[in-house]
Symmetry: C2
Subunit: 250 residues, 2 copies
DNA sequence: GAGTGGTCTAGACCACCCT
DNA sequence: GGGTGGTCTAGACCACTCA
């Protein structure tokens, strides 16, 4: 047994043994891939070698690699090897950013308020928690070139998101999902969105720089982990007159 | 070998032998499933039995069944069996009907005008045709209980859609995609949609029963075949005040 | 308890890429 | 030619469902 195979086996043994082997293997591999051990230019070790390192059968290793390929994390090239997918940041971080404005520029995101509150009934239900459960609420303004275009109201369940409550606001960048991942270990994998139009109240009108009563588009998103657990409820409001939203349906 | 296993093996043998076994098996199984041999209430034969019928290994059968589950055609219930998924009609025909109104009711669709016209530049570009290419334009009103809620402007390239131009209007039901499939052999497989808000002009206002200048939501859809060829451009307008749109992002 | 899908293994052969 | 992923097989044991 080589040193590295020892490490790989240890990483696997450290995980909850009640989970199926393929689930533990998947978690161990994902952690290692996100850790930056490999670049998209060089192949991972061969499937057979990985299987040996982790002490699993080739079939189990192939099953997990297939899942990670389906998920968009890896890329297989027959005869050549298995590679990290390029543009992974675009995929994993921007995948849920659907408001279509000037090209692919990233808007800035400034957090206006951050407070702990009991979750309203509707939010608690969407998160699968009891009404009144403690939650973190973020009020956030997103802008292009200092021009506000989206007001966001974000609810995160506690204590899972306690690190987001405690971190310095200056540590939080323009995108939240990488923060969830790095501080809380939660990776967003899917979401439901619902859109409708309502009229701006005084607060939203002031933030967006329009008159109260002007139509605004509301996007309500419930974001889930890969396992399907809802972990974020987000309501975004933007001026209807300049709003664009794009979706690809497969 | 039983009679049915003979049939299953024959169905497999009739397919292009250059394809991998799992691809042939998948095609044979899909055809049989769509043929209505099983209902969602009764399980398919066990995986092991199916594998034997088709003369493939359990592993290969499981691989194909897993793919069909991922695709949404089947549903596995451990300890119980493998079942056709319910609401399959909803999936294949209503999959692109995203305007969310009272439950899962189907709105009626009435064609107001049908005419042959040169396609405007924007439409021609979306369809991958030259500007001015002949196209079929449908003007359509969709209602719930005789209450109009959506005005649709639909462009279809000719001559591919000539059968839709020539068929009696009374032969066209409330859903167009089954018509495309039956008359033209074109199956819609994916689509892009883009949403924005504009103000109702006189014609739209009259059809929707609102005042001119009221905000309406516009959904522009470019629908494609499974092969990815764009074959329909559709612009739908609905009253912003009652509009709801829902999407699942994976 | 009988039957189902879920997990995991071990090994064979092929198609493809690279040098 | 040597190594990679792709296909396919055979069989063992477990967890779950249902009568």
């Amino acid at each position: 047994m080589t040193a590295s195979s020892g490490n790989a086996r240890e990483a696997l043994a450290a995980l909850d043994p009640r989970l199926p082997l393929h689930a533990r293997l998947r978690e161990a591999l994902t952690t290692r891939l996100r850790g930056g051990e490999w670049t998209p230019s060089e192949p991972l070790p061969a499937e057979s070698e990985l299987a040996q390192d982790y002490g699993v059968s080739l079939g189990t290793m192939r099953r997990v690699l297939t899942e990670l390929v389906d998920e968009g994390l890896l890329e297989r090239r027959q005869g050549s090897g298995t590679y990290l997918r390029r543009m992974q940041a675009q995929n994993s971080l921007f995948r849920f950013f659907r408001h279509h404005r000037q090209g692919d520029a990233v808007p800035t995101g400034r957090i206006l308020t951050r407070e702990t509150r009991p979750a309203p009934a509707e939010v608690a239900r969407a998160l699968g928690k009891r009404t009144g459960t403690k939650a973190l609420r973020l009020h956030r303004l997103r802008s292009y070139d200092d021009e506000p275009f989206l007001v966001e109201d974000i609810w995160l369940p506690l204590p899972a998101f306690a690190p987001v409550r405690d971190v310095e606001l200056t540590e939080i960048g323009d995108l939240l999902y990488p923060v969830y991942e790095q501080l809380c270990g939660l990776v967003i994998g899917s979401a439901d969105e619902e859109l409708w139009v309502e009229l701006a109240d005084a607060e939203v009108a002031e933030l967006l720089g329009c008159a109260p009563g002007e139509p605004v588009v509301v996007v309500e998103r419930v974001a889930r982990t890969h396992a399907g657990d809802p972990v974020e409820v987000r309501r975004s409001r933007g001026l209807a007159s300049t709003f664009r939203y794009r979706v690809e349906i497969r």
